[in-house]
């Protein structure tokens, strides 16, 4: 990979991440919310997967990352379940509009939603990268 692309990836990755978190957290005030924020966060990680060192891809598929991937399935589904319970009950409301704490549960649900879309994109990108490697012993058969 070019030196320009490598450096640009290293610089841009935290910026895009921060931007995605901003859109997700301020979802109930400004346009945005859970789903666009998840797409932006996914773009950040996709940039990391494509633009980084070719030699460091091997280092990235270590045992810790495989465990993180399996954990991400769990967290994903757990968040879906939590969202199911929250949505089924009445929300809590506060009084000031256009403030951070005004939306009630929509505040937390935006963050959860963004995280869920990010995990979905990560799982798909990881599946495509890992087709280059044979199945590992501790992986799901």
């Amino acid at each position: 990979m070019d030196a320009i692309i490598r450096t640009a990836t290293r610089v841009l990755f935290p910026v895009i991440l921060l931007f995605g978190i901003y859109i997700s957290v301020n979802g109930h005030i400004t346009p945005g919310g859970g789903f666009p924020a998840g797409v932006i966060l996914g773009t950040a990680f996709l940039l990391l997967a494509i633009g980084a060192d070719e030699t460091s891809i091997d280092a990235r598929i270590s045992k810790k990352n495989v465990m993180y991937l399996k954990g991400s399935f769990a967290i994903f589904l757990l968040l879906i379940v939590i969202e199911g319970y929250i949505i089924r009950n009445n929300i809590l409301k506060t009084q000031d509009f256009f403030e951070i704490w005004s939306g009630g549960f929509t505040f937390f649900l935006n963050i959860i939603g963004g995280f869920m879309v990010l995990l979905g994109i990560l799982i798909i990108v990881y599946s495509f990268i890992m087709t280059m490697y044979p199945p590992r012993e501790d992986d799901w058969k």
Partner: protein
């Protein structure tokens, strides 16, 4: 089975024709009812009832949050489906490597990385 160009173009034209019919019929079939009943309610009362200034967000996560739950489940099913099928792909590539004795490249990844 090879598909002709004629078949593809007729399918595309049929599709465009159907969409045109539906769009035109949307202007012909006017009803007596206020076709903005639900959206007017959300616009008028959304701010007070949910407390979030972004009405799209309040509709997506508050009024119709059950549908968003369904959409997230669809995303999860898609991701897990891709993962399970990639496991099968890896196993078949592994079997092909063991038979041939050398490391072959998967056709999928060569096609992707060529772009």
């Amino acid at each position: 089975m090879k598909i002709n160009q004629i078949q593809i173009t007729t399918l595309i034209f049929l599709f465009i024709f159907v969409i045109m019919v539906i769009t035109v019929s949307g202007k012909i079939y006017q009803t007596d009812f206020d076709s903005r009943a639900a959206s007017q309610y959300y616009l008028n009362n959304g701010l007070e009832e949910t407390g979030s200034a972004n009405i799209v967000n309040s509709i997506v996560w508050d009024f119709r949050g059950y549908d968003t739950l369904g959409e997230e489940s669809v995303l999860f099913i898609a991701a897990t489906g891709v993962y399970f099928l990639s496991l099968a792909l890896r196993k078949s590539i592994d079997r092909r490597d063991k038979k041939k004795g050398e490391k072959t490249k998967s056709k999928l990844l060569t096609k992707i990385t060529k772009i």
